[in-house]
Amino acid sequence: MIPAIGLIVGILLGLVLHPTVPLWLQPYLPIAVVAALDAVFGALRSVLDGIFNDRIFVISFLSNVVVAAVIVFLGDQLGVGSQMSTGVVVVLSMRIFANVAAIRRHLLKA
């Protein structure tokens, strides 16, 4: 419940504050968004499964974002930044699909 309120507060904060993203952060932004989406859908699925856990939510979100950022950063340094980004996006998209499929099975029984 508290995290759900947090999600809404985050949207409102973003709309009110109109944050500008510093230039050095811009390559990481799409990756961060995909990692965050993965965390949200994972959490939603676990809520429906009845096994939601705040601790795992925090850890999985933070570690996803950090690992994704590190992979992209390393890729940039090695000159394969776009390929690394693609890899991160592919894996996280697969997870999002799997989570959404589980949510769908729960809600629609299909």
């Binding site: 508290i2 995290p3 759900a4 309120i5 947090g6 999600l7 809404i8 507060v9 985050g10 949207i11 904060l13 973003g14 709309l15 109109h18 944050p19 500008t20 993203v21 811009q26 932004l29 799409p30 961060a32 968004v33 965050a36 989406l37 965390a39 949200v40 994972g42 699925r45 676990s46 499964d49 009845g50 096994i51 939601f52 856990n53 705040d54 601790r55 795992i56 939510f57 925090v58 999985s60 979100f61 933070l62 894996v91 697969m94 997870r95 699909f97 799997a98 989570n99 589980a102």
Partner: protein, 268 residues
């Protein structure tokens, strides 16, 4: 997790990647308040980042649009300046001519020089020319599908075609020629730049209307049609579908050349 692929090693890789984080731990009923605050903070951060990304993307496209518009504005402004400057050049050339004739009038030597100057100006295109005209219209083939080895569509009119039409008109007795209102001087260049044909570095677009003035327009038209250029045009239209025709216009005025000519190539 269901079967993802037929390959077992690939299957394990995929199922590892998409395994739920929560399954291993199970629900935790006694969460400490710190963890709860952290979870709420993560949730806030999560959607905040999402909104930030959306806004950032929006800002970026707005920036690209405004840059594009600024560039377009600069191009049109520069075009206007060029047109204005060219008008000034023509006016100044006319003024110069008037001043010259005022200076040369009076003495017999001066009048001789002026007559010679008049003839040269007409021949080189630096004064308006009035007389019976004829027009050669040249256009790309309406449905040119073939593509030449250099990547141009075969039915497209090229600089060489326009050059031979102009040369054919000179050879048939034309005394002045303008292409789409651009007067040719003795030093005009007709050439391709990419897809476009440039006359004196000004791009033209099809159809190309090549207007010539000749004292005997009918005879010139006949000579042109039977000459090398006319036969070549006939062949172009038969082989590639290039559209062309020739017609006499009656009395026509050709404008003076507006572009200044760089004579630095000639030794003084």
């Amino acid at each position: 997790m269901g079967q993802l692929s037929s390959n077992p090693s690939l299957d394990s890789l995929l199922s590892d990647a998409v395994a739920s984080d929560y399954e291993s731990a199970g629900a935790d009923r006694h969460t400490s308040p710190v963890i709860r605050i952290l979870a709420a903070g993560s949730a806030v951060l999560l959607t905040f980042v999402f909104i930030a990304a959306v806004i950032d993307k929006h800002n970026q496209s707005a920036q690209v649009n405004s840059t594009r518009q600024a560039l377009i504005d600069r191009i049109t402004a520069a075009d206007k300046r060029v047109a204005l400057a060219q008008k000034e050049v023509v006016q100044s050339t006319l003024d110069l001519g008037a001043a010259e004739s005022a200076h040369l009038a009076g003495t017999s030597l001066g009048e001789q020089a002026q007559k010679r100057l008049e003839v040269l100006r007409k021949a080189t295109g630096f004064t308006e020319l009035f007389g019976p005209g004829l027009q050669v219209t040249l256009d790309d083939a309406p449905d040119s599908t073939g593509v030449s080895s250099s990547g141009f569509s075969l039915g497209q009119v090229r600089d060489r075609d326009v050059q031979s039409v102009v040369n054919g008109l000179w050879a048939s007795g034309a005394t002045g020629i303008a292409i789409n209102g651009q007067r040719l001087t003795a030093l005009s260049a007709i050439r391709n730049a990419g897809e476009a044909i440039l006359v004196d570095y000004r791009p033209l677009s099809a159809p190309y209307r090549i207007v010539a003035i000749s004292q005997s327009a009918d005879a010139t038209a006949g000579t042109f049609r039977d000459g090398v250029a006319g036969l070549m045009l006939e062949q172009l239209s038969n082989k590639y579908g290039v559209v062309w025709n020739i017609a006499t216009l009656g009395d026509t005025t050709l404008p003076a050349a507006s572009s200044s000519v760089n004579l630095s190539g000639g030794k003084q």
